[in-house]
Symmetry: C2
Subunit: 193 residues, 2 copies
């Protein structure tokens, strides 16, 4: 098995992701990451050229989670309103889910080299494109109005900020949260689709 896609490598990635999320990229040392999977710190560099390479991998797959959530919303929902709802739910689930530590992609941009940053930005643009598509349909259906680019930024801001206060362990489910937020942004049209 090639080191590029070995099991150990995945193990390292997910341990690193959790550490990056919990204490931040700068404070998470390669020794910490190694200890989390039970190997010596030097062995990490058999799988990754640099510590930054680990971050790039983590952030890229985190962004991919958002892309996937968006694509699922677009294909599995029919009406503009339900597409928007699924976009909300999918985004929140990606943010607060347990599989990937997608939170890292929101807070560690600073530690990326310009070249790596461009790679991630491309994925982010893909996500933005899907939102804009759904928002255009929603606007055509009279659900929303105003500058749709600004609306997307407002919506994503609200959703992403949930990282600062929301816990899936609480009494508010992700679906409920998505519905409440959705009502803030389109209070008219109670049962339109």
């Amino acid at each position: 098995m090639k080191a590029e896609d070995s099991e150990r490598r995945q193990e390292l990635l997910s341990s690193a992701a959790r550490l990056f999320r919990d204490v931040g990229y700068a404070r998470a040392t390669v020794r910490d990451i190694a200890k989390a999977v039970g190997i010596q710190s030097g062995s990490i560099f058999y799988y990754f050229r640099t510590k930054e390479d680990i971050l790039v991998d983590v952030m890229e797959s985190a962004m991919q989670a958002f892309v996937g959530a968006g694509q699922r919303a677009l294909t599995e929902a029919a009406t503009p309103r339900s597409k928007l709802r699924e976009l909300f739910v999918g985004h929140l689930k990606a943010l607060h889910g347990t599989t990937d530590e997608t939170a890292v992609v929101l807070s560690e941009w600073r530690n990326l080299s310009p070249k790596s940053r461009r790679r991630i930005v491309k994925l982010r643009d893909q996500v933005d494109g899907m939102w804009d598509e759904v928002l255009r349909e929603a606007a055509a259906a009279g659900l929303v109005r105003g500058d749709l680019g600004l609306l997307r930024l407002a919506m994503l801001g609200s959703l992403n900020w949930s990282l600062q206060w929301y816990s899936p362990k609480g009494s508010l489910s992700i679906e409920d949260l998505a519905d409440r937020f959705l009502e803030f942004f389109l209070p008219m049209s109670k049962a339109r689709g």
Copy 2:
């Protein structure tokens, strides 16, 4: 003049704040901060016990800027809608203004000790209280509905996220941005006050 409130100390604080904002707390070294004001790195510790003390000071005065913005909005605006608008404008101005580097208070919580964190949280709660007060009035006037705590989180999320994309140098003024965002959250009631 006591070292507690000397001019040099203020100089250090504002230089440190800018560095924290630009490259993050972890990557901003005390040597960087010292060089920015033209002294040796060791001299910093004549004014601050630790590097973290600098961050605490920066974050505390940043939070104070938001408190001040909120108080101004509450006293200088009359109707619920205009209070909310001034809250939006004041918050955005504090975020993107040139006097304080308030952005630091949103991104560097992780580097605070539990004790320091509690100090800042207290100020944040004060800000939240003002928002809730305005939102209660807005709800009473029929401007908004739903869970007001969630609404506050949604609004502040939208505003705070602007840090990721908004630049005051662009064609969109802060007042315009505040108005557009406000319309997203209360599209009915065009001219209600």
